[in-house]
Point group: C2
Chain length 441, copies 2
């Protein structure tokens, strides 16, 4: 993860271009070359180290993912291992300041996604008498498949005081306030926000570096409302990834929409062209629903294996549905056992979450496990930070969550939702543009 | 990190021995073979995947580190990338229950260190009507260089009510209550504890899995008092590791004692044979000092590069001392610049932390960066979770910290200590024994 060069870099004397990669900058006499991997929208950094021997740094986690594209990165990108997400309250009061914030964030995000410092006068080559434009803790680390994804909350468009930034006519209909669900225990300081930024990377220090620098850049214009770290992605978003496990110890996300499923993505994830001109800016974007779901893991851990599998509806080992087969077998909800009861219980998680129970809707889930230390009772403050991208939260999240909160015995007995947010995810950014540009045209 | 096998494992039908590795257990038709890497006390797992093609999983992070040895693992072990540490309050009141807890923890720790489940009847092969002896979220993950290190706090030996477990005659003199240092803002629920467990791994889910399962095993006998996650080790403990960066963006731990420095380890880290028979159990062990150090990073980030470097006493890019040279050059504290002032300021961090300012003492630092979300003012709750192993906190920590808390401008202006602990680290465990066994003989 760290550069292998043994010779420390006299970076101050380095005449490298400011746009050079962090890795290249710190490698004594190093030269960085960027080339697109054949057939994949991925840039691979090749580093030549001090000894002169070519050291291809092209492990999976040293790759960089392009920031520009038709969609924002970090949605169908194969899920990385670590998350730092932050929601901001915008404190700027006029439209120009908001636009300049979004422009500054766009420039810094593009640079960091490519493995460069957040600004041209970064931690090692800036003027001596000014704060560096990069905080430095990611120097020497690769981009580690970093993606940075922006979303807009309902309160950016209007709040109790009325319209904000002249944007209320651009508020998309799907950007709703979620209803109260049974069992919700939402904390205000873990919910909402005008703008959300999702930073995902295979290296947590790279993801934390992003949120920190974007918060630094926002000084005087926006402040962090809440932030959340996550590890151990809980859903695979690519057929090439194995299904990971959540903190209940079960495989999670087996039935997820995958990056390879173009048709499903169009139907369930991307926002189609709207009949309302005010919503045009969101065409080709998506909605992100986030829920911080605390798990009562101490109680769960004292539950029998049989009870755990009954609640989930799948086996713990392979993840196969209790109706038989293997992980990717379709659950057979009608199949009954010896006592004539269905093998997959009517109040099981897999049944209630399945598209078949939800008018055929699917979502692209991209959540992470979290552990935020322990609470005053010595219980781990741990669970699932649920992230889903959907074409419309009204059809693709609310009905399913209402059913689960009422009927799913797993949700009722072992889960508590402590944070929540819904954000409109604008489509991708083109070079020269900035995130959310369509909102202001 | 996840097994690459595409074919899900029908693990329930698997007749594998319960002592088989998690990875082997979940690989369909897989066979796990363990062999010692030549010349290193490291076990490498080789996995054959479903397709029959040999897939050597022997990346650095898939290795396992032996739990048994002359010293506990996790001290001179090359620092892993992730930390989960927890301090426990023992609620058991008699000596036998404490001993059985330590025995149970030892058995589970040995198993998890080898990449196996925490108990024989784990998440996938246990009886259907009993809670599994492993919580399952690390199934399919390798050991990822996991180490588990145990330490005992002063309150295990005696507290305000008097002796505990008949251990007060075994309280080592070095296991002190730290004095109050200027600027301390210690929180009770982040400090102290009867027993500490440090789990380090290259995979956070593996480290979290350890603390969770040891807490589960402790049910009714000990509860978590505090826990802390860390990422991005801030000190290298091996000459083969590059010096990483802390959240000030500077290289940290350049002058650290390394695993290769046998003589320094004997002098500064390991506890020598004591003249007091009551302390014999600690011979060859160490002391661990932990401090949760919150950094005022938002203020730091608005400080000029020059001021940052002056406060630290090193350049931000290469980490070279301001007196010249490169990272590993010895600082020349006498060398003055044009204005006749020393190039390395008298109140700089590198000068006050240097052995030369501290009667020649050194420590083995093994800390981690942390970010625990954000506070109510939108500031990242981030900093350094300081961990040091020393031969005696009275000589090797207190004087240095007192000097830094009083004179080090970096510490005074940018740091706040919010958590603290001192623990006696018993020597290593042999097969058949249990951690801290010497305390009870």
């Amino acid at each position: 993860m760290f550069s292998q060069s043994k010779t420390p870099a006299p970076a101050e004397e380095n005449s490298a271009s400011p746009s050079m990669s962090r890795r290249g900058l710190l490698t004594y006499g190093g030269a960085a070359a960027a080339g697109a991997a054949a057939g994949a929208a991925v840039t691979v950094l090749i580093t030549q180290n001090a000894g002169g021997d070519a050291a291809p740094a092209a492990s999976a986690s040293s790759e960089s993912v392009p920031f520009y594209g038709a969609q924002q990165a970090g949605i169908v990108t194969a899920a990385q291992d670590r998350l730092h997400m932050a929601a901001f309250d915008v404190t700027a009061t006029n439209r120009d300041d908001l636009i300049s914030l979004l422009k500054d964030w766009t420039a810094a995000s593009e640079a960091m996604s490519a493995g460069r410092e957040a600004g041209d006068t970064g931690a090692v080559n800036g003027p001596y008498d000014a704060p560096p434009e990069d905080t430095g803790e990611a120097l020497g680390l690769s981009a580690s498949r970093l993606t940075i994804t922006f979303g807009f909350g309902r309160t950016l468009f209007k709040n109790d005081a009325g319209t904000r930034f002249g944007l209320d006519s651009r508020l998309p209909e799907g950007l709703i306030d979620l209803p109260h669900f049974p069992g919700d225990a939402l904390e205000d300081n873990r919910s909402g926000g005008d703008i959300v930024i999702q930073a995902c990377s295979d290296d947590p220090q790279v993801a934390v570096h992003v949120i920190r620098n974007l918060a630094r850049i926002a000084f005087g214009r926006a402040t962090i409302r809440w932030s959340q770290l996550g590890f151990g992605r809980t859903s695979s978003t690519s057929r090439e990834q194995q299904t990971p496990r959540n903190l209940f110890g079960f495989k999670d996300g087996t039935a997820n929409v995958k990056a390879q499923d173009d048709e499903l993505l169009d139907k369930h994830v991307w926002v189609p062209k709207s009949s309302s001109a005010g919503e045009d800016w969101l065409t080709g974007g998506s909605y992100m629903v986030v829920r911080r779901i605390r798990m009562h893991i101490e109680i769960w851990d004292r539950t029998s294996l049989g009870e755990q599998e009954t609640l989930i509806g799948r086996t713990k080992g392979s993840g196969a549905p209790l109706s038989g087969g293997e992980e990717f077998s379709e659950p057979d909800f009608a199949r009954a056992g010896r006592d004539n009861k269905p093998l997959i219980a009517t109040d099981s998680h897999v049944r209630l979450a399945h598209a078949q129970s939800n008018s055929g809707v699917k979502m692209l889930r991209r959540g992470y496990n979290f552990t935020d230390g322990s609470d005053s009772l010595g219980r781990l403050d741990a669970g699932l930070f649920f992230i889903a991208f959907v074409t419309d939260p009204r059809s693709h999240y609310v009905p399913m969550q209402m059913a689960m909160a009422q009927k799913d015995r797993l949700a009722v007995e072992y889960l508590r939702h402590t944070g929540s947010g819904v954000f409109a995810i604008p489509p991708g950014i083109q070079a020269g543009g900035f995130v959310g540009e369509g909102l202001f045209s």
